[in-house]
Every structure is written in C-alpha cells, then in structure tokens.
Amino acid sequence: MAKYISKRIVYLILTLFIISSFTFFLMKFLPGTPFRAEEKLSDEQKIILEEKYGLNDPIPVQYGRYMVNIVKGDLGVSFQFDNQPVTKLLINRMGPSLQLGFQAMFIGTIVGILLGVLAAMFQNTWIDYGSTFLAVLGKSIPSFVFAAVLQYIIGVKLQWLPVASWDSFASSIMPTIALAIFPIATAARFMRTELIEVLGSDYITLAKAKGNSKMEISFKHAVRNALIPLITVLGPMAVGLMTGSMVVEQIFAIPGIGEQFVKSIQTNDFPIIMGTTIFFAFLLTVIILIVDILYGIIDPRIRVAGGKK
C-alpha cells in the first residue's frame, strides 16, 4: 500500500506540473492586460506597469520564474486585489467553498443512498416512483434555480433562515441544500440501478434461502457491493462541489472561490488563475487517490497495489 501511495504521489506531482505548465501557456493567449484602468492608461504607462510586474519578459523567462516560485511555495500577488498574496486569497476563499462542498456532498450521499435503497427495495411501488421523480427533478433543474426558490420561500417569505450572508452556520444551510440536490439525485439513481442488479445475483438468493430478512440482506450484503460504482462518480463530483458553484455563491453572497476564479479569468489576474488551477488540480488528484483507496476498503477483492499471483 505504501509503495502504491508513494507511486501515486509521484504521478500527482507530475500531473500538477503538466497542468500548471499547460495553464500558464494557455493564459498567455488571453486578450488584454491585467490592469484595471486599461482604457485610461497610455502606452508608456502600460509599458512601465508591464515592466514592474515582469510581463514584458520573454514568455519562457516568465514561465521559468513562475515555476521556481511555485516550488518555493510563492504563488505571487493578485492583480485584482492589490498586494494580496494568492495563497492568502485561496485560504480565505477556499474555506466557505470547501465547507459547503463537504456539507452538500455529505447530505447528498446519505440522502441519495437512502432514496436509492428504498427505491430498489420497493421496486415499482409509489416509493420507487416518488424517488425516481425526485431524482429526475434534481438532475434536470439547475442548483441555482433551487437556490433562488429556496431564498425566496425560506428566506423572504417564511424568514426562517438568512436571505444571504456568511456569518453563521444558519447561513450555510440553504446553499448546502441547493448544492446537495444534484448529488442526491445522482446517488439515488446509481444506487437504485446497482442495487436492483445486485439483488438479483446468486449470493443474494443464497442469503434469502438462509432465511435472512430483506433489510438484513440489503444493508449487509447488497448495499456494499452497489457502492463501488457510486464512489467512482462521487469523487469528481466532490471536487466540483468543493471548488465552489459560482452562481450559488453569488446568490447567497458567499465569499467562495468559484466566483473568484471566473472573475480572475475575466480580469486576466494571472496569479489567481494559476493558483486556483493548481489547487483545483491538486484537490482532484488527491480525491481520485482517496477513491482508489476506498475501493480496496469497500471491496478487498480490488487490489490497489496490484496483487501478486
């Protein structure tokens, strides 16, 4: 296992290197400069500013400098937020996005699995149809529509929760629900399909023959096997949720990273684009690694380290 993990860490570093290099060169194709008063600056001033930020150096020089700085742990300073180190910005903005992502993922998986299990166990009954209906709804309506509806009904009309802001746990509830709708739907659909298949397999028939109850069979034997494909989709979905949803963050006035990332691209804030991309890539690769390890835990027949014959 240790050998497997260290090998994966080497791949992780390599992946990050390729992604950051690729992003760096792509970024150079963005039109315009990162200077906010671009319209009002004279050509001489633009030259002075480019010199100050090292943007007039040849691209390979800029690339080399950037890579050396990354190794030193320096992601540079933002252009949008003057003199704010990118690392500080990432830390400040990542917190709310990660928290919401984790919460949405957690609720999404638990509720989704439960709905899926119920649907499979009570196949072709009103429970199954109800769960399917909810899943279709959750998959087809975008999270920001749920967000706006929740804000209006629970925030404005009923006034149970804050309309928008980020100052208490209460203010994270509505965005979490809005974000959780999609994972709930996905998990429920996956779970139902897989479980129905598993429930039809021989070892379940054997368990039934032994006289085990339906509940016992489902939770002891079937659910666990049905979880494997689900975990495969949940990994990347978790990253998607944790890296922030721009629209949901905007609707609930959450100081998250999603909206900031989009804005940094619009404003050519190169250091933030790079910093965020590297961080997202890191998160994704780590989660894929965790998923791979989880396979082994859930089903020991899957040998992550490559078994000996």
Partner: protein, 556 residues
C-alpha cells in the same frame, strides 16, 4: 474482518460529518450586526455594494468600490458637497493663487488628524503625490497628475525623479503646488482620492501590506474602515473619533454586504436586512421604477456610437460624413432609454454630460444645446447622399459591443432602429467580452462601437480631449486640425481666462458632434436604487466616490 472494515468506513464518514458541522458553526466568529438595525435611534446603516474592495491603498485604487471606501475614510484638500461642487476640506479656506494661475499655496487645517492621532501635515501630501507618480509604485491612476502637476510627465516616463514633482511642504501647515499650466478644474482633482494625503510613517512601516486589510489602513475622514479582511464580502464603517468635524457625523456604524446578484439585494432589502440597495440592473430597474423607495440618480457617464474611419490602414464607409450623420440621427434615443434601460438614463444630444462643467451657474450641456438629435427623415437623406458619394446601393456595417445581456439587447435595438430607418443598411452585430472590445478598439479593428466614458474630473475637457488627432483614446481615425487647435488653446492659452475657455470648448464640441458627427451621442447614464424613507442625507456624486455617508441620519 470484512465487517469491521465496513463499520470503520461508516464511523469515519460519520465523524467527518460531525467535524464538518462543527466547522460550520465555528465560523460564526465573524458575526456582524448586518441586518440588525437594533433600536430606533441607533444610527446604524446597512447597505449593499456590488463588488469587493480591490485595494485599501488610495494610490493604487482605480475602481468605484475602492473610491467609495475612500469617500468615507479619507479627505483631501477638497471634498464634494451635495451638489458636486468641490469645497475646502483639509484646506483651510481657499488657496492663494499666483497671477498666472500656476502656483497654489494651501493652508492645511491644524485640527486635522489621522485615526492614530498623528496630525495631517503638508508633508503627507508631498509623500502621497510623489509616491503616486513614481513609476515604481505602479499607480494606474497616476495619469491624473499628467499635464497638471509640474514634472509629472517626466517622472512617470522615468526622465525625472519623484522629488522633482511640483509639490512642496513649506512648513507643516503650508503646501505649495506648482502646475504645468493653469488648470481651472484643479479643485475637483484635489477632491479625488489619488490626491489624498498619506501618513508616511505608517505607509513605510506597513510596506507591501499597506491597504491590504482594515488594520493596515489609516483614516482622516468621517469614518474608519473596520472588519475588512482584504478579500471578504463584508466590512464596516465606524465613526472616526479623531475626525475634525465629528460633531456633524451622526451615523455611528455602517454595515456593508456585497451582493452581486440584484435579486439577492432586493430580497435583503425587502426583508429589512439592508436600508439601501446598490444600483439595480435594467430588468429590476424597470420593475421598481415606480416604487416609492426608488431613487433615480444621474451619473457622469456619457454613451455614444464611435465611428471608425480607418481600419487596417484603409478608409471605412464611415469616413463619409453623410453616412455618419445618417447613422447618428436614425435611432430613437428616448425609446432606448425608456424601454431598454428605464433606470434614470436619459437621451443626450452632445458628448459632455449634464452636471460636470459649470460656469457662472450655467451648465455646459445646456449652453452647448442639442447638437445631434433624432430625425429619421433627415437621417435617410444624409444616408442616401452618402451612399451616392460612395457609389453603392447598400452597405453592411458591423456594430461592436460587450457581451452582457443588456449589451446584446442594446445591439439588437440599434440593429432594428438603424436598419428600419436607413434603406440598404445591414447591421451585423459583434458582441464580445469587455477585454476583447478594448483590444479591438486599441487596434482600431471595428466599424461602429458602443462606447462610454466617465469623468476623470469635473470639466468638459475630460471628454473633449478624447478626440484630438492621435489621442490615446481617439482610435477612430478622426482628425480635425481646427478641433485640435481649439482643445490646445483651451488647455494652454485660456487656462486663466474661464470665459474664453468656455467658448472655445463649446465651439470644439459643436465641431466634433454637430459638424463632423465623429461620434453619435446616445444617452447619459443614470441608475436606480432602493432606499428606505428613514435614511436622510444620502449624497450621490457624479465623480469620485459614488456616494458619501457623512451627512446621513436615520430618522425612524
């Protein structure tokens, strides 16, 4: 064994969930009194902004959100009153001015203090201004000094040292400013945050951290900035006890929440969590235009069609004056401002907006009059004459604009209006992101462009100067020697003769808009926000900070 692993997995998942919920609750520490107006005479104001504060360093600031902060926390020699007239602030009365109008000597109030108790001195201005023009600082708004304060150009181009700037502290309370030419609008510049003083000791001590959060900032104005972490969506203004005029500041605390979607802002407003919204977008402005809380405000932003006469070294059809005049008169400006914008914007028939330049109580826009009005019949005549001159029966032109929803709607409106009024015209729409529009403009790679300009100072020159031959922002190929001469005369010859200067600028605008139709004026922008009736004394400005809160009171 298998069973134990499964339970272990479940246990890990559950504990993770618990930790996370705890994290969420733990992040409560920043709890602000947002939305909690408290008791009736609290004098606490809650308001919305639409963007984060990019910087707390007034020298580096370039955008409305930062300037709004400095409008509450910093004062310069002048400040704007409720009618946008610059009035002395840190300057003690009016300065003494040399006969040629080039040397100003200001006395600085002795009771002016920084929020750390230090006195505000003439040296603070010298330090701040030199720092702004020093190319090493990278101040994007340093251009405001160019052609105004002596040697600013040379310093910014690296040909002189910052200490050669025309500003000098004669003693702690006397500031001498030497200008390149007489500048009639100097007082409005002096009300702008880039010209505000900075406490040298504090700024030097903080180094790169200066202005990166509210702890790294000093105030000399009515309020201090608090609880701003540098990138967050909330902050506060708290009354500054060291402010010389604190007796007249009634508000104790202002809570600001950034809400980027207008729907959220309106929901916060309707549930009483905020007392003022930010400017509403077009669709909401239309919906709320007759609401009793609606406040319609005028901005200094002038919008027009920019006609490019030379593209890739070749003359475009827009080099033909009749074609330009035809286009400029063929659309219904009122229908556009009333139906598409509905936010207080109104039609404009000249380049210089209402309110930015006055002389002897008269507004430049009124004096200049309607230079290019809608007249579809005349437009058709000009257009047909133009087509004949070009020897063609029809023309396909391109309209370049931004890619926002509103910009797209606007482009379609113009396509419909122009194609209907001008037979033989096909208007192709190109909607691109702002950065690309600016890039296309810089390369003069467009035919017609929807463009706008906001005042850099309170004078018609900030607009008229744009279209001199080869001007940095001209980018239309427009060139008229007489126009160039008039602008130059107004700058150099008549800096000290305001009447003549006024006449010269009026004449220049007439040539640019009426005679040459180099651009086609459309509208002056306005905006609509919602404000609770108990908020009194909220002042908005055409220039500089969007608003000031110094005179606000809550009268519930």
């Amino acid at each position: 064994m298998k069973k134990s692993k499964f339970y272990l997995f479940t246990a890990i998942a559950l504990s993770l969930a618990l930790v996370l919920s705890a994290c969420g609750a733990g992040s409560d520490k920043k709890s602000s009194s947002n939305g909690d107006s408290g008791s009736k005479n609290d004098q606490v104001l809650n308001m919305i902004e639409t963007a984060e504060i990019p910087t707390g360093d007034p020298t580096l600031a370039t955008d409305a959100a930062s300037f709004s902060v400095f409008g509450q926390t910093l004062e310069g020699l002048y400040t704007l009153n409720d009618k946008d007239v610059p009035v002395p602030a840190l300057a003690e009365g009016k300065p003494s001015i040399s006969e040629d109008g080039k040397v100003y000597t200001f006395k600085i109030r002795k009771d002016a203090k920084w929020s750390n108790g230090d006195p505000v001195t003439a040296k603070d201005f010298v330090f701040s201004w030199r720092r702004a023009v020093d190319p090493k600082t990278g101040a994007q708004y340093a251009y405001m000094f160019q052609g105004v304060v002596k040697n600013a150009n040379e310093i910014m181009n690296g040909k002189a040292k910052p200490d050669q700037l025309g500003v000098e502290a004669v003693d702690d309370n006397t500031l001498k400013v030497t200008l390149e030419n007489a500048v009639p609008y100097l007082d409005s510049l002096l009300a702008f945050a880039t010209f505000a003083p900075l406490n040298e000791k504090f700024v030097t001590e903080k180094g790169d951290k200066f202005g990166t959060n509210s702890d790294n900032m000093l105030s000399n104005g009515p309020f201090e900035l608090k609880d701003w972490d540098g990138t967050g969506l909330t902050w506060k203004y708290v009354k500054n006890d060291n402010y010389y005029d604190k007796a007249n500041v009634k508000i104790k605390e202002v809570n600001v929440q950034v809400a980027k979607t207008p729907n959220t802002a309106i929901n916060l407003y309707n549930t009483g969590k905020t007392d003022i919204t930010a400017a509403l977008s077009a669709e909401y402005a239309k919906q709320y235009q007759n609401n009793k809380d609606a406040l319609k405000m005028v901005e200094s932003s002038s919008w027009y069609l920019k006609f490019n006469q030379v593209r890739n070294g070749k003359k475009t059809p827009l080099a033909n004056e009749n074609i330009r005049k035809g286009l400029a008169m063929a659309f219904d400006k009122k229908a556009y401002t009333d139906t598409i914008l509905s936010n207080g914007s109104f039609p404009s028939n000249g380049l210089v907006p209402k309110g930015v330049h006055q002389l002897n109580g008269k507004d430049f826009r009124d004096a200049s009059g309607d230079l290019l009005t809608t007249d579809k019949a005349k437009a058709k005549e000009y257009w047909e004459k133009g087509l004949k001159e070009l020897g063609v029966k029809s023309l396909t032109l391109e309209l370049l604009s931004d890619d926002t929803e509103n910009a797209k709607k606007t482009s379609e409106f113009f396509q419909d209006q122009l194609q209907r009024s001008l037979p033989g015209l096909t208007l192709k729409l190109t909607n691109v992101p702002f950065k690309i529009r600016i890039q296309k403009q810089d390369k003069q790679d467009y035919e017609i462009q929807m463009a706008g300009w906001g005042a850099d100072y309170l004078d018609s020159m900030t607009y008229l100067d744009l279209f001199v031959t080869n001007g940095g922002n001209n980018k239309t190929g427009y060139s008229n020697k007489k126009y160039d001469q008039l602008i130059n005369d107004a700058k150099v010859k008549y800096g000290n003769d305001l009447e003549k200067r006024w006449e010269t600028l009026l004449q220049a605008e007439k040539i640019l808009v009426q005679e040459d139709a180099a651009i086609a004026p459309i509208y002056q922008r306005g905006h609509l926000k919602l404000i609770k009736p108990y908020v009194k004394g909220f002042e908005e400005h055409l220039f500089g900070p969007d608003y000031t809160l110094k005179n606000v009171t809550i009268e519930k």
